[in-house]
């Protein structure tokens, strides 16, 4: 098992996954034309991590922008983690960060929270 570190770009987020800490971070903006290609490495990492996860897993999502192509990929990421949680392999916590006046990011968090069945913390901050 290895860590996954993907640097951010103008259209893709920073991704940091640490198997030893059981911690994942998605940060920045995710607006590529085809998000599936970008998120594949994260799917692969989670699949590998799921074979031997930590007892607790934490994911921080701190996105400034994301497009609808990315929204379906993000949901797939969360569903993979949800499986870990449902199968009691790891207690997964989602931390969804959004800026206090960003109603769209707030609503997006609520959308994911409504679909996913695991602890989902909406974290309002002054600035991301």
């Amino acid at each position: 098992m290895s860590k996954l570190n993907i640097e951010s770009s103008a259209k893709t987020p920073l991704i940091k996954c640490d198997d030893e800490l059981g911690r994942l971070t998605i940060e920045g903006r995710s607006i590529p034309e085809n998000a599936v290609d970008f998120f594949q490495r994260l799917y692969d990492w989670i699949d590998e991590y799921s074979k031997s996860p930590k007892s607790k897993t934490e994911i921080d999502v701190k996105l400034e922008y994301f497009n609808t192509s990315s929204s379906k990929c993000l949901l797939k990421v969360l569903k993979k983690l949800e499986t870990l949680n449902v199968e009691s392999k790891s207690a997964v916590n989602v931390n969804w960060f959004f800026e206090e006046d960003d109603e769209d990011m707030n609503e997006a968090g609520q959308d994911f929270d409504a679909i996913i069945s695991m602890p989902f913390n909406m974290v309002e901050v002054a600035e991301l």
Partner: protein
């Protein structure tokens, strides 16, 4: 909603901009929309918005809606056609506390009814219904080969909080489809 754009085949963008009398034009484009055009446009719009004394949430909405609108054109461009039919137009303008985003691109004539009914169905939704529909499509897991999510019109409608305007201009072989998104600065 009535669209004021009337396109002559060769004067689409010029005519369109001339019709937006009194608008502050942030960006306008006529040509083939590829990834590079999208990147440059997003960078330009972000720079222009950053200079404006507008609420941050409005700047974010304009940027986000533009991303969807441009990627919508990109995903549905007439790839196998001559450059003339791959051409699209778009513009972002501000006028009397409203942002106007227009996009225009060619469609197969057979696609017109599908697109029209998609937009009509979105425009009919209440605030609560749009959330339910959005979550339903988000959860279907379907992404096209090009990365399309099926959420574009819903997303633009939800974020702009205004009905989506549209017009179809029939030409000989294809139909030119114009989409108009309005965003109220104070809403």
């Amino acid at each position: 909603m009535f669209l004021i754009v009337i396109f002559g085949k060769m004067l689409r963008l010029t005519q369109h901009i001339n019709n937006l009398t009194g608008h502050d034009t942030y960006i306008s484009f006529d040509g083939v929309v590829d990834v590079e055009v999208i990147n440059t446009t997003l960078q330009t719009i972000e720079e222009k918005l950053s200079d404006k004394a507008l609420p941050k949430r409005i700047k974010r909405k304009v940027y986000n809606i533009l991303v969807e609108a441009l990627q919508n054109i990109f995903h549905h461009r007439m790839e196998n056609e001559t450059l003339d039919y791959q051409r699209s137009i778009f513009s972002v303008t501000e006028h009397e506390n409203k942002f106007h985003i227009y996009t225009g691109n060619y469609l197969e004539k057979a696609a017109v009814d599908v697109v029209k009914s998609k937009i009509d169905n979105v425009n009919k939704l209440t605030k609560e219904q749009v959330v339910i529909k959005y979550r339903e499509i988000l959860d279907d897991g379907i992404v096209t080969d090009k990365g399309g999510s099926g959420l574009g019109f819903l997303d633009m409608f939800r974020k702009s909080k205004n009905i989506l305007g549209y017009k179809f201009y029939n030409e000989e072989t294809y139909t030119f489809f114009v989409l108009h998104i309005t965003l109220n600065v104070n809403k």
